[in-house]
Symmetry: C2
Subunit: 299 residues, 2 copies
């Protein structure tokens, strides 16, 4: 079976209450990216964060962090466009990527497109209530077309996120339109515990996604469990030919009482994949599997 | 097996290009509601439309139409809140229902809650392009809570629409919160041909919905195919204990070259259900299955 692409999702918007190893600042993210690469990850995904953990979507944060990651290894870089924390218009949400593209040292390899809209309010299991009631993650068709055009212009690979079947069907229409080209790299974003915006992180949850992968285009799929324990599903994903995106950004992974680091989470995925007959894909192999274009830096 | 609840979806935003029998004006909708009731439908769902087919969300339209439907039969009335054609705030979208609740002659029996947000752009199969690129059907958690509170206040039954698993999971959280009470009446809105916002109208599309019905609460489910031929699935739905919501609002149903009327579509569902051992539920039986509350008219 194909080699398995492992992506380290190092921080997202996670606090350190659950696990103190969540990296916030550029130096912390850079160190984690190197450690995850050495453990077998081919891609690193991160969000800009301040020292207090608050989102920091300044271009400076991404320029410094990308350059530091590049200096440490060849791991592929997948930054965020800001999620609901950055409710700007399409141009505004892509502005940080435009800045990153001014130099080979700071350019990423992927840019994400969450291919639809969905309510993303936070559920509080302790109170049994919603902590928020107004968060709609809005990605209009027009906004997504703008992202796709800019991503293609820069020679980046679109990282296509699907929260439910409506998203996957929009990806299929974009492939028909030529807005996206195959192979499509699609991430099924499952969710649990404190957010119910995606399918649950169960066998049924994944089995309700994969039948809708566009049949007429080659698709490569990976799975996230945003706020749940993806290890409940990793064996199934590995056996079915999927890829794995995991890290402390999604879940406070532990071994008994001991908090795992991002690199330790990656080591566990690698060990399980090898036991089931799949070697982790190197960066070069990942580029080949995804037929990644050559990044174009503006003169 | 339980009796089957059949709902006539008489017009939605459908044009008469596909089938000239789509009712627009109050008199046309009133006549169709009576004919569908006599054919075996227990619920009628309609949208206010002008003589040219454009949406008409004035309270007057709904008052006149509801009163006329009431005078013709006891069919249960399920009006729209306006969909994306009425992009007002939560109070604004519910304003027409508040007007309807001032008299028993004009009060409906259901009010809809589309329990989430989703991109709902129109695809044009002839050009292979989107006709719109900015339509996000926005129903925030807070807006839905407002609808649920007003629906309960008036003694109406919430008609819960799920376009994908994210919607169904939000319904489950609302049941946990007590924002909604069991039995929940949930409509799986499948979509095809010119809109891809829901699951496809296939066996796989329906099978990716039903496993996520809230397990701890009694749920009654019905199925729509918005812009596709629901008869591809009616046998499966009937056999699995689901209910059916169908009409010219969704699809230009024909028999060869002959355009069917809404009542003829209902007759076909009734015949198929009977052949498979399920009698159509009367209005009284529908009230019992759904444990419908008593409508409360303000003094």
């Amino acid at each position: 079976m194909d080699r398995i692409i492992i992506e380290a999702r190092v921080n997202e918007l996670a606090t350190r209450n659950g696990n103190p190893h969540v990296p916030f600042l550029p130096g912390e993210i850079i160190a984690d990216a190197k450690a995850c690469h050495d453990a077998g990850a081919a891609i690193v995904h991160y969000h800009g964060r301040g020292g207090d953990g608050a989102p920091d979507h300044s271009a400076e944060f991404y320029l410094e962090t990308n350059a530091g990651i590049r200096a440490g290894s060849d791991i592929l870089i997948h930054p965020t466009l800001g999620y609901v924390a950055n409710d700007a218009d399409a141009m505004g949400r892509f502005a940080a990527v435009e800045e990153m593209m001014k130099s080979a040292e700071t350019a990423p390899d992927f840019a994400p497109m969450d291919c639809g809209s969905v309510n993303v309010d936070w559920w509080n299991p302790e109170t049994g209530r919603y902590d928020t009631t107004d968060l709609i993650y809005k990605n209009s068709t027009g906004t997504l077309m703008h992202f796709a055009e800019r991503i293609a212009h820069h020679g980046l690979k679109p990282y296509l996120v699907s929260w439910n079947v409506s998203f996957t069907r929009q990806i299929e229409q974009f492939l028909k339109l030529g807005v996206l080209t195959a192979p499509a790299y699609i991430c099924f974003c499952l969710t649990d515990e404190i957010i119910f915006a995606g399918h649950p992180g169960t066998v049924a949850g994944l089995d309700a996604h994969t039948p809708f992968l566009p049949q007429d285009y080659r698709c490569v799929w990976t799975v996230v469990n945003y706020k749940g324990d993806l290890f409940q599903l990793t064996e199934k994903i590995i056996r079915e030919g999927g890829h794995i995106s995991i890290g402390l950004g999604d879940y406070a992974y532990r071994d008994g009482a001991r908090n795992l680091t991002n690199a330790e989470v990656i080591e566990r995925v690698v060990a399980q994949a090898r036991a089931l007959g799949r070697e982790p894909a190197s960066v070069a192999e990942t580029r080949q599997i995804l037929q990644m274009p050559a990044v174009r830096i503006a003169a």
